[in-house]
Symmetry: C2
Subunit: 330 residues, 2 copies
């Protein structure tokens, strides 16, 4: 792929007078895993996200100038930062002579299970892509986003970066993104309790051996849920959106989880589970009003467990990452 | 469900003069698992199947009068026979006062991995259903078919009976059948080597513990394959139809498996794997001609391993079970 991408992006002999000098992009939050699709399924969420401003620089490096917003104690070393690593991978693959300087504005809390590291990574890639002679299609940024994500989680999984790149509900496998259709009316309630659950700790809860029967049950549920999305059949999603593999192992890490989930189900959720590695909890609903009412009830359940929380309500067919502005040479 | 079904089928005070006395049905063969959908995905296959003739009798019992065809040494005790057990379950659920007498004609070899026990079971149910005052829709026979299948395999899995009831490619979960669309042009080559692989032995090869990573890889493949079917995208099926969980554990039980699979792949298979519990091997193809050529090459590969074989080529959207004839009271 690298040679092919590089061929599409030759370094020009003379720069175009309209060449972009800097660009700013926003990538939304996301619900990773969606319960039954561990590491392979996710959807974007409107209403929160990270911003990245990327400036073209002559030095052949990636530099992080600043990290602002709701998280500020992240590493400025680009090789230790998801966004920095993704831009380094982009530079290398395309054989770019120029570099990038990056300012991140974090809008998603660290360790929230809402895809914060992925959001920085995708925002930076989308902004940097706008500075290329021939910007790549969003799908072609996927591999670089995976390299960035690996810094945060130690593994290449695209269930957060995939939906941010394409928008909506996305199946994200090792080297392929497939958008899964969902009705516009379906909404998600996402509730973020004010506590940090480290991804590494949440992954440690999954260590150990599994039984084949667990996998059969989970893959039956995943298949029913996907069938329900393709057919727009909420009844199938209701049957399938039930994580019997991962949720039971991670739920003990989230105070009040059972009551928060029950609050969602009591408000006609098609299903509810842990967003990404947690501690955020999501529910899927057929109507926006149901999701709004459920979000309040879910937050109240977290309050009973002693946790303040924020809530988001978004279409499941949420937005993709997008450019906010581009500054061009005069 | 039982009470509901019984209410739909009250025993009449006076019998209709046109009441059916006996009926004969054919259920096709099937490819269970389809590689990546262990215990939950299957499709029917035209060109082979079991027939059942069911006669209404006054005694309140299920009786197996004879088993004919390519397998004759099966138990006549209905409680030990998949078809007998399914009819017993039907009688019980509907509270029928009359009984059934059954003659099975086996067209599918025992232990072939082509759904032979499921075929008998479904053929008997479809024939018996035609004798009811108000025949049930095919989906409603699923639970009885699962009870029959459990006699043969010790577990309730519907990846063979489901496709036989609905036809085509079917997602068959604990209590739900969903037909998955596939293009009419897509064909399957199914090659049955002349050896018996007992389902129980094939299941024993799957004992032991599994790693989460294996599940993630397999469910990614399953999801890609389902996406490819829903979108009619052979490229997605090609990526997804790759069993990394079950096939590696069962392949050593099938002489020559690797070469047979390679023969399918050499003929542009979208994927190839073990049919059901084996030893039959299937491949999926975009065109009938490819499947025909591949079937011959796959049989030749089995011959190299010292095994004669039969071949079938069928649309993946294969037939459902169907009535052949119904005899009515004069």
């Amino acid at each position: 792929m690298n040679a092919q991408l590089a061929a599409q992006n030759p370094e020009p002999m003379a720069r175009s007078p309209q060449r972009a000098l800097s660009a700013q992009a926003l990538a939304p939050a996301s619900v990773g895993n969606v319960g039954i699709g561990f590491d392979i399924l996710g959807h974007s969420v409107a209403g929160a996200g990270d911003r990245a401003r990327v400036r073209r620089i002559d030095e052949p490096v990636v530099r992080i100038a600043a990290i602002e917003g709701c998280v500020v104690d992240l590493p400025l070393d680009p090789a230790q930062n998801t966004a920095g690593m993704a831009l380094m991978a982009l530079r290398k693959a395309l054989g770019l002579r120029h570099g990038f300087e990056l300012v991140l504005h974090k809008g998603i809390a660290l360790g929230s299970g809402m895809g914060g590291s992925a959001s920085s990574c995708v925002a930076a890639l989308v902004a940097a892509n706008a500075l290329l002679e021939r910007p790549l299609p969003m799908e072609s940024l996927y591999g670089f986003a995976l390299e960035g994500e690996a810094v945060a989680s130690g593994g290449r999984h695209g269930d957060n970066v995939g939906p941010m790149l394409l928008g909506g509900l996305v199946l994200a496998t090792r080297d392929r993104l497939v958008r899964v259709p969902v009705p516009d009316a379906w909404h998600c309630a996402l509730v973020h309790p004010h506590m940090v659950l480290e991804t590494r700790k949440a992954r440690a809860a999954l260590a150990g051996a599994y039984q084949l029967g667990e996998f059969v049950a989970q893959s039956a549920n995943l298949s029913l849920m996907l069938a329900g999305c393709w057919q727009g059949d909420a009844g199938l999603v209701r049957e399938g959106l039930n994580d019997v593999l991962v949720e039971p192992r991670r739920a003990p890490l989230i105070p009040g989880f059972a009551r928060v989930k029950q609050a969602a189900m009591d408000h006609r959720a098609m299903g509810a589970s842990i967003s990404g590695a947690g501690p955020s909890v999501f529910g899927w609903f057929e109507q926006r009003d149901e999701a709004k009412a459920a979000a309040a009830a879910m937050a109240a359940a977290f309050a009973e467990a002693g946790l303040d929380s924020d809530t988001l309500v978004s279409p499941i067919a949420g937005p993709s990452a997008a450019l906010i502005d581009v500054e061009r040479k005069a």
